[in-house]
């Protein structure tokens, strides 16, 4: 979406968000609710850790054989009658989709929730080709009407209050009678969407997991829009990041359980779709053609660097953002990247390069709340630290992550060289710390080191090294 391309403005954007009490309380309340729901669904002691171990092991095993599984997926899908396409980057992915639509002469499209479609900016691309692409997930529909980007990967319109939704509907839905009653709002949108499902030429969805052995595409959702989108129009196009492939059907139950519990605290979602072919002759419904577009778009880069491979374990549950103290305060739009929150800070540099995302990787206290709830045990703080280190390298290495070494500054480097010299020379360290405590009375007069609302920390009057020396002398 339009504001989705400038994570380098993260600081300014987060400042605006921090100053908006309404937004702050919307996010805080929603995150509290989601944290609570998740905790309830893993209330049995050890239940999370046990399942997490399995989930992590499955994702690691599948990633370790990613090339083979992708080939197997391609042949299983092809045998099932699903047409498989490969896209190296966003542009190729967009062109493949518009190519299929052109072939089918499709002018109107309904789309289920797909973060990958956001990643490749599909809506803008189709709009430019005069193809109407309507979001059919309630949250996505709302942000589309508002011409905004999703602010959360699971709950795209989490930042919107019901009054704002009512105003949007009043503006965009013909015959809508203004109401702030949530059920009536949903009903109004449902009526619009029902009509669109019936008349759309094609349906586009994401994929949560794809099973290599059987060629099955799994789609997890709560509203039934995924099922409508993938079954009513005559063509179904499924977009999938290449990391989403798993080996066998046995891998699905643990991952599904981790996904729904981590995301919304649900034991299972209302709908779980397993799509394995286009309509067969004996079927009463279903699309005539199913296309699977496998998208790389930076994932191979993450895969090739063993330090970052674990980021591909992600099953996009959003638990890391739900538990992030930074996300809860600045909200999803501040990041200005498709994937906000902790995991977004790892994915975005792989999509956009480190130069544009330097402020994202530093915007974490490394508190580890994200890692502690990650259903597949991605070491998010460790990966963030690696990215920080990459951004500060003296020079970029070959085949490196784009933007490596882009955030090294002469001034900052000097600070850490001085730090190193002081800390590795005990005499110098003790001399300087003596100096610091000797002149500690000056601290309040120095420029505020972390802003006007916090006083400068005041050193003691003696260092512990001094006290220890005095102690030794006296004994």
């Amino acid at each position: 979406m339009s504001q989705h391309i400038h994570p380098q403005h993260f600081k300014q954007q987060s400042k605006v968000a921090l100053a908006d009490p309404q937004l702050r309380s919307s996010f805080r309340n929603a995150m509290d609710y989601l944290q609570d729901k998740r905790a309830q669904s893993f209330s049995e002691p050890g239940s999370f850790e046990q399942l997490q171990l399995r989930g992590e092991a499955i994702r690691k095993r599948c990633l370790n054989q990613l090339p083979e599984l992708l080939e197997q997926l391609e042949s299983s899908c092809t045998n099932n009658g699903i047409v498989v396409h490969w896209a190296e980057d966003a542009q190729q992915a967009r062109e493949i989709v518009s190519g299929i639509l052109a072939e089918e002469n499709a002018k109107t499209v309904v789309k289920g929730k797909s973060m990958l479609s956001e990643e490749i900016a599909l809506n803008e691309h189709l709009a430019a080709l005069n193809i109407e692409c309507l979001e059919s997930d309630m949250g996505e529909y709302i942000v589309q009407l508002a011409n905004e980007a999703p602010s959360h990967i699971i709950m795209p319109a989490i930042h919107k209050r019901k009054q704002e939704v009512a105003e949007l509907f009043a503006k965009h839905i013909d015959g809508f009678e203004y109401t702030e009653d949530v059920d009536s709002l949903i009903k109004a949108a449902r009526e619009v969407l029902r009509y669109k499902f019936e008349h759309a030429d094609a349906g586009i969805t994401g994929v949560n997991f794809a099973v290599a052995q059987t060629g099955t595409l799994c789609l997890v959702e709560n509203e039934g829009n995924g099922r409508m989108t993938s079954t009513v129009p005559k063509v179904h196009i499924a977009l999938m990041g290449i990391e989403k492939v798993v080996e066998s059907l046995n891998d699905i139950p643990p991952l599904l359980s981790l996904l729904t519990r981590s995301a919304t605290g649900q034991a299972i979602t209302t709908y779980f779709n397993m799509i394995s072919s286009p309509r067969q002759s004996e079927d009463n419904d279903g699309p005539n053609a199913v296309h699977l577009v496998l998208v790389d778009n930076g994932r191979s880069q993450a895969y090739s660097d063993e330090r970052y491979r674990a980021s591909l374990q992600c099953i996009r549950c959003g638990a890391c953002m739900n538990h992030c103290p930074v996300y809860a305060r600045v909200g999803g739009h501040s990041y200005a990247s498709v994937y906000p929150g902790p995991i977004g800070k790892i994915i975005s540099p792989h999509l956009l390069g480190l130069e544009a995302t330097g402020d994202l990787v530093t915007a974490s206290s490394l508190c580890g709340a994200c890692e502690s709830v990650c259903p597949v045990n991605i070491p998010i703080p460790a990966l963030l630290r690696e990215l920080r280190s990459d951004a500060k390298l003296p020079s970029a290495s070959e085949q490196a992550l784009k933007g490596q070494a882009s955030h090294r500054s002469w001034l900052e480097e000097s600070v850490w060289v001085i730090f190193r010299i002081i800390m590795t020379k005990p005499v110098l360290y003790r001399g300087l710390s003596f100096f610091v405590v000797r002149f500690s009375f000056l601290m309040p007069r120095l420029p505020a080191i972390w802003g006007p609302q916090r006083s400068n920390p005041k050193p003691s009057t003696k260092t512990l090294h001094q006290l220890m020396r005095e102690r030794k002398k006296n004994s």
Binding site: S365, L366, C367, I422, W450, G451, R454, P459, T463
Partner: protein
């Protein structure tokens, strides 16, 4: 990391190193003295290395791995790996125990690093689980709120250990604030680089701490205290955080420092 392996603790040793951290050194040396004296009261000889400075964490988390590595190497080489290292901060203990082995992988012997990592204990963890300390509370009845650092909680897995230690003082009503497990917003250079976000976090933390109406704020980490106290001072609140070592010393041992 959600499942931190259960740690098996050795017998009480005769000697330990005290690793105080640069923050205690400069901002609260009395906590260092209190910590040392409490260890001595358990019959342990405390070794103090004059060459100790900083564990290198600030450079490490800022992405200056090379500087961090050089500092870490100099510090690591100070220690005899047969003697436990008792650290007066969950965060620095986490750096020594969890990050030195990978950071110094190419520089130092891996067996020595593994051995060292196994010898690192946070101060309260060491007292409770190795010394099996029994605190005798001689103070007045009071109420204290505890802030556990994120590294103590999630990296070292000792938040509950600290609570158990403090709960031994039977005249102290011990409470945790709302959102106890949420970060205070320090995070080293994060507090400076992203001041506005850090401020929003510490303001909320202070609010929840003050809501408990406790008379004391206790923490085992001076990093968090630096941040929280700076905010409390600027807001002219009467509450100030102190290190648990000082609090325990004053109530259970010798009184003033």
């Amino acid at each position: 990391m959600s499942a931190i392996p259960i740690r098996l603790y050795p017998e009480q040793p005769k000697q330990v190193y005290l690793y105080a951290s640069c923050l205690v050194d400069m901002f609260d040396p009395n906590a260092g003295i209190a910590a040392l004296q409490i260890l001595e009261a358990q019959g342990i000889e405390v070794l103090w290395l004059e060459q100790q400075s900083c564990c290198g964490q600030p450079a490490y988390t800022s992405g200056y791995t090379d500087s961090a590595m050089k500092v870490a190497k100099q510090q690591f080489e100070l220690f005899d790996t047969d003697i436990p290292v008792v650290v007066l901060s969950g965060s620095c203990a986490g750096m020594l125990r969890k990050h030195y082995p990978s950071l110094l992988e190419k520089e130092c012997d891996s067996d020595a690093l593994a051995k060292f990592s196994n010898q690192v204990f946070e101060w309260g963890e060491f007292l409770l689980n190795i010394c099996q300390i029994k605190l005798l509370d001689k103070g007045e009845t009071t109420k204290a709120v505890v802030h556990n650092s994120c590294s103590a909680r999630r990296e070292m897995g000792i938040a509950e250990t600290t609570m158990r230690l403090l709960k031994q003082m039977d005249k102290v009503e011990l409470v945790e604030p709302k959102y106890a497990s949420e970060c205070c917003g320090f995070g080293g250079s994060f507090a400076k680089r992203h001041q506005d976000i850090s401020l929003a976090m510490v303001a909320d933390k202070a609010k929840h701490l003050l809501e408990t109406q406790a008379s004391f704020l206790l923490s085992a980490d001076w990093g968090c205290l630096l941040n929280i106290n700076s905010y409390l001072e600027q807001q002219q609140s009467g509450m100030r955080g102190q290190h648990i070592a000082t609090f325990i010393w004053q109530r259970c041992y010798g009184g003033e420092l």
